[in-house]
Amino acid sequence: MGILEVKDVGKRFGGLQALGDVNLSVKENSVHAIIGPNGAGKSTLLNCLVGKLIPDTGSVMFDGQSVLGRTPHEINQMGISRVFQTPEIFGDLTVLENMMIPCFAKRDGAFRMRAIEDMMREKDIVEKAESMLKDMNMADKHHMHAASMSRGDKRRLEIGMCLAQEPRLLLLDEPTAGMARADTNNTIDLLKQISDERDITIAIIEHDMHVVFSLAQRITVLAQGTPLVEDDPENIKGHPKVREAYLGETA
């Protein structure tokens, strides 16, 4: 039994069957990659996992509990964090403030009104945010405006913000899209380090085969809304069906 169990999930948009009978099982503390050509339904699947879309059929269980019908913030509070394709951070705030927000969310829940306390006097929060920034190698950027950073730094910050919530499952949506090679390699190293050092499951949607084969312990291939195969990376590389559907296309 994996930490995330997707059973028979289907989703239609009008006449288009975006997802049909998707089954997926992500093992705890592993790195699981979901790959597939454009339009294979990867993003739709991801959106079904985090509450942005509600599938028409099937079930999505996280740690034995259904996530269906819950709002994004409720699912997040269950322990699922998501990293977006283009970094979603609080651009108007400083880096430290960005990092403090998930720390508050972890400690105080979805809504707690603390309108009179001084946020900088919440020692535990500030310390946690600072140590998290140190982990992300951003200790020198505390007071920078988040929007003024490079894309690579924004990505690091976003991943750090997700980790600050100590999630059990981290979902990444093409985390290296549009990045230079050096930034991509940095991100791979960061993710490897996270997976080694922390008690965390990572599910990653990716286009870049280099990223996938450097990280994943298990791979699911989606094509036209249905899973083609699910196997270890070595077997996927040589799989004829996959070659036909996916690798052949990019070769």
């Binding site: 977006f84 508050f104 009104m113 309108a115 009179i116 306390e117 001084d118």
Partner: protein
């Protein structure tokens, strides 16, 4: 001190100093001089400065922090006023219960309005709030006449017999604070200067200082951080496990209560209210104040309220004759020409000046007058530096 950091404490002390010494600061010109008409240190206007300051501070808590632009905030001010005047008519002429009543009524009303309007965001939110405010105005004007007095509004009349007052037969009640009449003033003559210290002004000023203090605390609090996060990125907000809805509703209600507080204070000062207080132009005015002063800054809204109320009451009184007097030293033709150029922007045309000023601020100074001040400050500093180190900044090669 007071749980504020050094910079905020400084600001708080400066504002306290300015409001307490306002009767001096606003009356810099001798009574007999031609400039006396620029004196703003009379009770009525000073009260308006601080009361609309409160209104704008509250509006800024919503718009400045969350970015939700309400175009119907005057409704809460109006509702607060009606609540306060009924408290005075029926229960007591003491202003404190009346002000509290204003805050409570506005708070309840803003919970209802906010609950509905906040289901949408962006322009839809603006239109919804506008629709609610216009509806309140129309209702106050027509159907609700028994409660609101319709077009003529409500005043304290000689027939009103509040429960907790011992008025003589036929005596018209006056707003007071434990017996101290709001209109009571102490006048100080120093040479050619006349300074007026009005009871009502000082009460309103103290309330404003409290409101200002609370707003600083909210800005610096975890709650304030969450509100700024909502403005910055709602998607990341919900994917960080935070529910934006109760945050925005709380901000909306706090902001509505500030408006109610301002409404209650207005009634405490002049004991009357009419539906025009809720008209959408009044809502537009608080938007102008906040933007003009500096949205999202602490002191900006108060500044903006001051500037607009000053223009409304002082600039609007300058007429053509006054202008001719000013430019009398010029040759006749030139004098007429200058008056012709300046006249459209003052007197009854002060709205034009306001509109132009407002546009310039939105286009060039998104941080309002506060940002303008900061830029000038920086420029002066840099200029000073450049002079000091003038020789050494040459490229050394």
């Amino acid at each position: 001190m007071l749980g504020l950091n050094k910079k905020d404490l400084q600001l708080m002390l400066i504002v306290t100093g300015l409001t307490m010494l306002a009767p001096f600061i606003l009356n810099p010109f001798p009574e007999s001089s031609g400039m006396a008409q620029f004196n703003a240190g009379y009770p009525d206007l000073m009260q308006r400065f601080v009361i609309f300051g409160i209104f704008a501070i509250g509006f800024n808590l919503l718009f400045g922090l969350t970015g939700y632009l309400s175009f119907g905030h005057a409704a809460f001010l109006g509702v607060g006023s009606y609540g306060a005047i009924w408290m005075m008519k029926l229960v007591t002429l003491n202003v404190i219960p009346a002000i509290f009543m204003g805050v409570i009524v506005a708070g309840i009303f803003s919970v209802a309005v906010g609950y509905i309007c906040l289901r949408r965001s962006g322009i839809y939110f603006s239109i919804l709030t506008l629709a609610f405010a216009q509806m309140s105005y129309a209702l106050a004007y027509s159907v609700l006449t028994p409660i609101t007095g319709g077009e003529t509004g409500l005043q304290i009349k000689s027939t009103d017999r509040p429960l907790l007052s011992n008025l003589a037969e036929g005596e018209t009640g006056r707003a007071n604070l434990f017996g101290m009449d709001m209109r009571q003033s102490f006048e100080l003559n120093v040479g050619d200067w006349l300074f007026t210290f009005n009871a009502g002004y000082y009460i309103a000023a103290v309330v404003m200082l409290i409101a200002f203090y609370i707003s600083i605390r909210i800005f610096r609090s975890p709650f304030g951080l969450m509100l700024r996060a909502i403005k910055s990125n709602q998607t990341r907000m919900s994917y960080t496990g935070l529910n934006p809805r109760p945050h925005t509703l709380a901000a909306f209600v706090i902001s509505g209560m500030y408006a109610g507080l301002a409404g209650g204070l207005l009634v405490a000062m002049d004991t009357q209210v009419g539906p025009e207080r809720m008209f959408w132009t009044a809502s537009g005015e608080v938007v102008l104040m906040t933007i003009l002063g500096g949205v999202g800054t602490l002191i900006g809204p108060v500044l903006g309220a001051g500037v607009i109320k000053y223009m409304e009451n002082i600039l609007s009184k300058i007429n053509k004759d006054v202008l001719h007097e000013w430019f009398a030293f010029m040759p006749d033709g030139l004098e007429d020409f200058i008056v012709f150029l300046v006249y459209p922007f003052i007197g009854k045309g002060w709205h034009l000046t306001l509109g132009i000023l407002f546009m310039l601020v939105v286009i060039f100074l998104p941080g309002g007058l506060v940002e303008g001040g900061q830029r000038i400050g920086k420029w002066i500093k840099n200029r000073g530096k450049a002079k000091d180190t003038g020789g050494s900044t040459e490229p050394a090669e």
